[in-house]
Symmetry: C2
Subunit: 322 residues, 2 copies
DNA sequence: GCCATTCTCTGACTAGAGTCAGAGACCATG
DNA sequence: CATGGTCTCTGACTCTAGTCAGAGAATGGC
């Protein structure tokens, strides 16, 4: 009686997957990979191994209580896995680093983690293994894309500067003639135009690093322009561009615009395809930008904003050695 | 400098995914969901809601200590979320069911869980959502397939009977003329032929339910035959058939066979494709099975077993000869 | 040099999760 | 109906994770 392909609700699929996955893969996780080391200590050890730092640093990275961290460190130190020394820069806090023995224990966690992944994959035929790898790689990209943070920042902020530099590098590489397009010049321009009340600059970050950016500036009454639209190469195909574009449109609405224009270069084919998919139409050249060959415009009306990012609870960073 | 497509190791992909997923989705977090209910209790309540059962039942499903379960149930009962009554069939154990209030609490957990999944999916564009759903559905199938248990059981055991019934139903439906192919008759045959030392019967189970099966019997000196090969519809495309086939070949080797034959019906096209992929060659009819139209054979030599199941952790289901 | 602030450590405490060894109820069988 | 085996419950216990308040050292601004 049921239809043959009832268009599965992504929410149900996620839940179903989560159930299988945690039951069958995560279950073994609990007693920390059979290393005999309690979860908390293993997490801390792993984090120190990834990047040593001050106590304060580790506390914020792992979201631990200072008393709790202190105790965990004492245990690790007692087992000669870490060294803890006063930080010369501020002798209230201390710096932590792995000992040789600690590095060995870290490697052990690492090995156990790989072992476990191998245990999951091994029973499958080679064909199924590569199918699983492909599916998980795709899911990984999309999950990471879904949990990205979009924030409006000042173009002069460090995060924004890093993003714009990446943008300039890429545009330079793609359209050739690097000399003609200068990062410092771009940054100076942005600092003036992409700030409230006449503009805005948005950076998408994943685990603190910029992975995409875009700005809005004002061309005239009710008319805005999208600038500096960039998505990191490694994040192509995750819909980040479309999402950012929708977000920028909302930002433009809030700035009072009803039309949004943009220019781009014919070499940036994915970008052009994305603009067209998003309903942008080709228009005549509207500026004298030497780097632009294609020009687009769209109307932006008021309508209730859909799933724009928002506040995601940051979970504790679990130790899954990569 | 690096190659553009370096054929990713599935193990690395799994680890990478696991890291992103647990960090960002909080797979372990599936517990609390901010309901204020402790993890253990929430898990139990949820499981009872999925399917009420006896205490024993729940204990094996969740892998809990009997004392611990008893306490958890007492707590749930004190909160009037469940009713616990002696099982009329065996009054040592008790049956557990949700009260109305319990059903409400269950619905609450359910809602929180869906809410959480929605939170993950929501920021994505519709296109990315369905890509994520497709990737996770594929990964789900393969993860479940990878964690299946293959065990040799007596054909008379309950597990085996259920599998054979499913096999008979499906073959009947696929080749038409149900009346001619009888489950009881098949079961009676199997009980005699698919047991050591002349044969074997293997059932693949997932979470205690049979999802595939297959048997080996002896035709003559060194010659075995594969019988009752079946894979549940919902598990098609996960390589289960191939894996089971490899396993049965190993079983046949251990029975001393060097050639393996099988018959099948032309309507079972996927099965035929699989046999061919596995190196089976068409041969002439070698029996008078009315239900068979195609006949295959292969040589099975001794060689070091590849990723054949072997020593996977054996569940609580012990083989009981009846 | 003074003082509020910032930082870490310590001890005391709670709650959850789980184990273990009996005690006692219940069952199947000869 | 006796007996061995199976099942659940109870109490006593351990371990991990995490919170909280206060002591004391170091810092930065004045």
């Amino acid at each position: 009686m049921t239809a043959s392909a009832p268009a599965p609700d992504p929410v149900d699929v996620v839940r179903r997957f989560n159930r299988s996955y945690t039951q069958r893969v995560g279950a073994l996780d609990e007693s920390f990979l059979g290393s005999g080391m309690p979860l908390g200590r293993a997490r801390l050890l792993y984090e120190i191994g990834v990047e040593p730092g001050t106590t304060q640093d580790l506390r914020t990275r792992l979201g631990l209580d200072s008393g709790y961290l202190s105790r965990l460190l004492r245990d690790l130190e007692a087992d000669a896995l870490v060294t803890v020394e006063p930080d010369p820069a501020d002798r209230r806090r201390r710096t932590v680093a792995l000992t040789d023995e600690g590095r060995q224990a870290w490697g052990d966690l690492e090995r156990r983690s790989a072992e476990r992944a191998r245990g999951l994959v091994e029973p499958l035929t080679a064909r199924q293994q590569s199918r699983l790898a492909a599916a998980l790689a795709e899911a990984d990209l999309l999950v990471r894309a879904a949990t990205i943070e979009l924030e409006t920042v000042a173009p002069a902020a460090d995060l924004a500067r890093r993003a714009v530099r990446a943008y300039v590098d890429e545009v330079g590489a793609r359209i050739g003639g690097t000399g003609t397009f200068d990062a410092d010049e771009a940054l100076a321009d942005d600092a003036a135009r992409l700030v409230a009340p006449r503009g805005a600059f948005v950076v998408a970050t994943s685990a603190g690093s910029p992975v995409a950016c875009g700005g809005v500036q004002t061309l005239g009454p009710g008319v805005g322009e999208i600038k500096r639209m960039w998505v990191d190469d490694a994040w192509r195909g995750a819909g980040l561009g479309s999402r950012l574009l929708r977000h920028l449109e909302q930002v433009a609405r809030e700035l009072g615009h009803t039309e949004l224009r943009l220019d781009t270069h014919e070499a940036l084919t994915e970008a052009i395809a994305m603009y067209e998919r998003a309903g942008y139409r080709r228009i005549e050249r509207y500026n004298d930008n030497l780097h632009a060959t294609h020009f687009f415009s769209t109307e932006i009306r008021e309508f209730p904003r859909r799933g724009v990012p928002g506040r995601r609870r940051v979970g504790p960073c679990l130790p899954h050695p990569t």
